[in-house]
């Protein structure tokens, strides 16, 4: 009995260690690695999906592509925020877009999906349009800085996928956003 428990502990520790080691793969991949993304490594991808399935802190909105793409500096920022009923990229968002544009322009095989979102106020269908306009604003910024059209897809979720489920201005400010999601090459054929 005692021995059994000991073995279980060792197994648990080994699994935890393995998970940590695999999760660590992401940040180690340098942006300069010829457009390679961690998702190309099936083991790393499996670990990423596992972490999300385990109900990690990201919650229901976590994307399976979250661990993909470049890390470090502004490239670690994957969200651009907007003012109410606006699709104008402002403040730090300008720098975040520029950093991703630079990365994408120098890594021709890297691809992103720009996901436009709004806060919950107003009508749903109008918000679908507004989320689309925000995604397009980021798309245009990337294209102007040398990214090619084939590297970018856009989608609008309107108000349907809030990052913060609250109903006040601080939650709304977090929800008026475009998320930059790096697509792993393996993930692309799965899209209908």
């Amino acid at each position: 009995m005692q021995e059994q428990r000991g073995i279980n502990w060792i197994l648990a520790l080994a699994l935890l260690f393995l998970a940590l080691a695999l999760a660590g793969c992401g940040p180690k991949v340098k942006p300069g690695a010829g457009g390679a993304t961690p998702g190309e490594n099936p083991a790393a991808e499996g670990a990423g999906a596992g972490a999300n399935a385990a109900g990690a802190a990201e919650g229901a909105n976590a994307s399976q592509d979250e661990t993909a793409g470049p890390q470090g500096g502004l490239l670690a920022s994957r969200v651009i925020y907007f003012d109410f009923d606006s699709a104008v990229i402002k403040g730090e968002g300008v720098d975040v877009a520029a950093a991703h544009a630079k990365y994408l322009a120098s890594h021709a095989t890297a691809r992103v999906r720009l996901e436009g979102n709004t806060d919950e106020r107003g009508s749903r269908e109008y918000n679908i349009g507004l989320g689309d306009r925000r995604a397009q604003a980021v798309r245009r910024a990337l294209l102007l800085q040398g990214v090619t059209e084939g590297q970018i897809t856009t989608v609008s979720y309107g108000e349907e996928r809030p990052a913060d489920p609250g109903h006040d201005e601080s939650a709304w400010a977090k929800n008026r956003r475009v998320e930059i999601v790096y697509l792993t090459p393996a993930a692309q054929p799965a899209r209908p």
């Binding site: 106020r121 107003g122 749903r124 269908e125 306009r133």
Partner: protein, 219 residues
């Protein structure tokens, strides 16, 4: 990757038919949404965004599959609603800087006419069965509320008092509106009479309620 594609569902069961899909036409990328049946059931008004992300209103003839572009403006044009006579469409557009409601011929000819002028946010139009009144979501103070505009005089009455009221739907007799409201975490349904004097909240047993629609016979 999920896309929004208009489908038809049978009222008595889960019988779906895709009537218009981006997959059968590569130019149909982007937003496919806000479908609305014409009064005679032969056409569907809908919003298409395209790859450049410019939502405009189109009318799809369901028999011929002919698609007619109704609006062509860099603004967000969406939420088409048929006038009861089927000859014009009401829709939301922010072409003047903020969302307002416009009316345009359903044939695709002519220019849109602006209908709402009060306030900075008027969206999601619904017309009463006799075509005399327009219900919408309006921003009043810091609350999104249900308002009704008399289409002949232009007079506007704000009927609800919530913070996040949405999706008004006229009862077939035009006397009552059904809408959704959000207080706290969930959504519930509410009704209000068109004179704004009586209202009722319909709490859901579970889950969140949104986008109610009244059946054509009101029973």
């Amino acid at each position: 990757m999920r896309r929004k594609t208009p489908c038809v569902a049978g009222c008595d069961g889960p019988m779906f038919r895709t009537i218009f899909s981006p997959s059968n036409s590569p130019s149909r990328a982007g937003v496919n949404g806000a479908p609305a049946w014409s009064p005679d059931g032969k056409k569907l008004a809908l919003t298409l965004g395209g790859t450049a992300g410019n939502p405009d209103i189109y009318v799809l003839d369901l028999l011929t599959q002919n698609l007619t572009r109704i609006t062509d403006d860099p603004a967000i044009d969406t939420e088409p609603e048929w006038a009861p006579d089927g000859r014009s469409l009401y829709f939301t557009s922010d072409r003047a800087g903020s969302p307002q409601i416009y009316q345009i011929s359903a044939s695709g000819s002519g220019r849109p006419r602006r209908i709402t002028f009060e306030g900075n946010y008027n969206a999601r139009p619904r017309v009463s069965a006799d075509g005399s009144e327009l219900a919408m979501v309006t921003l009043e103070g810091n609350g999104y509320r249900i308002a009704v505009q008399d289409l002949s005089s232009g007079a506007v009455r704000v009927l609800s008092h919530g913070r996040l009221d949405e999706s008004p739907s006229f009862a077939p007799n035009g006397a009552t509106l059904l809408y959704s409201q959000r207080e706290g975490g969930g959504g519930s349904l509410a009704t209000v009479s068109v004179d704004g004097l009586t209202g009722l909240r319909l709490k859901a047993q579970q889950g969140t309620i949104r986008d109610p629609a009244w059946g054509p016979f009101g029973t």
